[in-house]
Symmetry: none
Subunit: 222 residues, 2 copies
C-alpha cells in the first residue's frame, strides 16, 4: 500500500508520514499541488492525504478537476476548523474523507487504512490464499491457523502478492506498491524480502520465482 501526503507544513508532513509508515504503508510526500501532481503522474498510490490549503491553491479544486477526468484514487482532506463549513461542498463524495486539524496521527492512520481498503471496491478485509490468511484490519497473518510475526515490509509484500494471487508480479510492481520512491529499483531488496517472507511462511514453494519476470503465488499441488 502506497500513500502520498501533500502538506506544506514540514513538521506536520514529517509527523504524518512517520505515523503512516509505522502502519506498514509506503509514504511519499509533497509540499504543494504542483509537486503532488507530478508524483501522481509518475507513481500510483492507493490513497492521497491532501492538506486543504496549499501554497499554490486549494486542493479541492485540483481533486475535482482530476475526478472529472475519471481519476478515482481515494483522497483524505485535512481541513482547518474555519474552512470546515464548506465541506458540504461535497468533496467527501467518491469515497473520500476529511479530518479537522488538529487531529491524532493514529486517527489519520486508521482512516487512511480504511480508505485504502475501500478502494479495492468490496475487497474483503481478510485475504486468503491456500492456507494463508491475511487480515488487513488487524495486520495479522496466519498460516495453517498459526499466527506469524511479519515485519511491515513482509506484510506489505505478502498483501500485494495475495491481492494478485497466481499472477506474476514483477519486482518493479512490488517496488512501486510496497516501497516509497526512495527505493532503488536496482537493488535486490525485493529478493531479500521475499526470502525472509518465505522463511517465515515455512513453505518456500508458495512464493514461486518466475525467472526474468518476477514472483507469483502458487498452490503447491504442482
Amino acid at each position: 500500500m502506497r500513500v502520498l501526503v501533500v502538506e506544506d507544513d514540514e513538521d506536520l508532513r514529517i509527523a504524518v508520514s512517520a505515523g503512516l509508515r509505522s502502519a506498514a504503508l509506503a509514504v511519499d510526500s509533497a509540499g504543494d499541488i504542483a509537486t503532488a501532481d507530478e508524483a501522481l503522474f509518475v507513481n500510483s498510490y492507493d490513497c492521497v492525504v491532501f492538506d486543504r490549503m496549499l501554497p499554490d491553491g486549494d486542493s479541492v479544486g485540483y481533486v475535482r478537476t482530476r475526478r472529472r477526468e475519471g481519476w478515482a484514487v481515494p483522497v483524505l482532506f485535512l481541513t482547518a476548523r474555519d474552512t470546515l463549513a464548506d465541506r458540504v461542498e461535497g468533496f467527501e463524495h467518491g469515497g473520500d474523507d476529511y479530518l479537522v486539524k488538529p487531529f491524532a496521527v493514529a486517527e489519520l492512520t486508521a482512516r487512511v487504512l480504511s480508505l485504502c481498503r475501500r478502494a479495492g471496491t468490496g475487497r474483503p478485509p481478510v485475504l486468503r490464499y491456500d492456507d494463508v490468511e491475511l487480515d488487513t484490519g488487524r495486520r495479522e497473518v496466519r498460516r495453517a491457523g498459526v499466527l506469524l510475526t511479519l515485519t511491515a515490509k513482509e506484510f506489505s509484500v505478502l498483501e500485494y502478492l495475495i491481492s494478485r494471487a497466481e499472477q506474476v508480479v514483477s519486482r518493479t510492481d512490488l517496488i512501486e506498491h510496497c516501497w516509497d520512491s526512495a527505493a532503488d529499483p536496482m537493488s535486490n531488496v525485493v529478493d531479500v524480502t521475499i526470502k525472509r517472507l518465505r522463511t517465515k511462511l515455512r513453505r518456500p514453494e508458495l512464493v514461486h520465482a518466475v525467472r526474468g519476470q518476477g514472483y507469483r503465488l502458487v498452490r503447491t499441488a504442482e
Copy 2:
C-alpha cells in the same frame, strides 16, 4: 497511455483527439477499419475508440473477430442513436463501453480513462490457438490442458506467434519483438528457440516452417 481513435468524420475525429490529448493521452487516429487494423498491428494501445459505422464496415464485427483471437484491448464504441437498439448484441462485454452521439468530449475522455484503468486492473488476457492456451498473467501455457514449463524466450516467441496466428512470421519479426537490440540477426537463435518450443509443445507440426519466409502456426487438420 496510448489511444487509437477510429472515426470517419474528420471534424469529429479531430475534436475527439484533441480532447483526449488534453487528458495527457497519446492519440493516434484512423478513418477506416483497414487503417485501424494496420495501426493495431504495429502499435499497442491501452484503449481504442471505434465509431460504430465506418466506410469499410461495422466495427463491431471487426472487434468481435479480433476478440476471438484473444485480443483484449478495451474498446469504446460511438453509436448513432438509431443503432442504439442493437447494443444488446452484447458488444459491451469484455470491459467495453459505448457512447451515443452526440456526446460531450469530456464525457468521452472520462470513459476512456476509466477503460484504460480498468484494463490495468482486469485480468490479463488468455490467448488461445487450437489446443494451446497461453495465460499472459500467470505466464502459464497449457496444451490440451497440460501445463508446460516454458522459459521466458520460449514464452515470448509463442506469444508472438499466437498473436499472429496463421500468419507467416519472419525471423526478423521475431528477433525484433522477442529479443533486445543486442541480438545478432545472423545467428540461428530463432531456429533453436523454435526447436525447443516444439519439443515442449510435444506437437512439432504446430509450428510450421515456411521455407525462406519464416514460421507460422497451423492447425493440424492432418
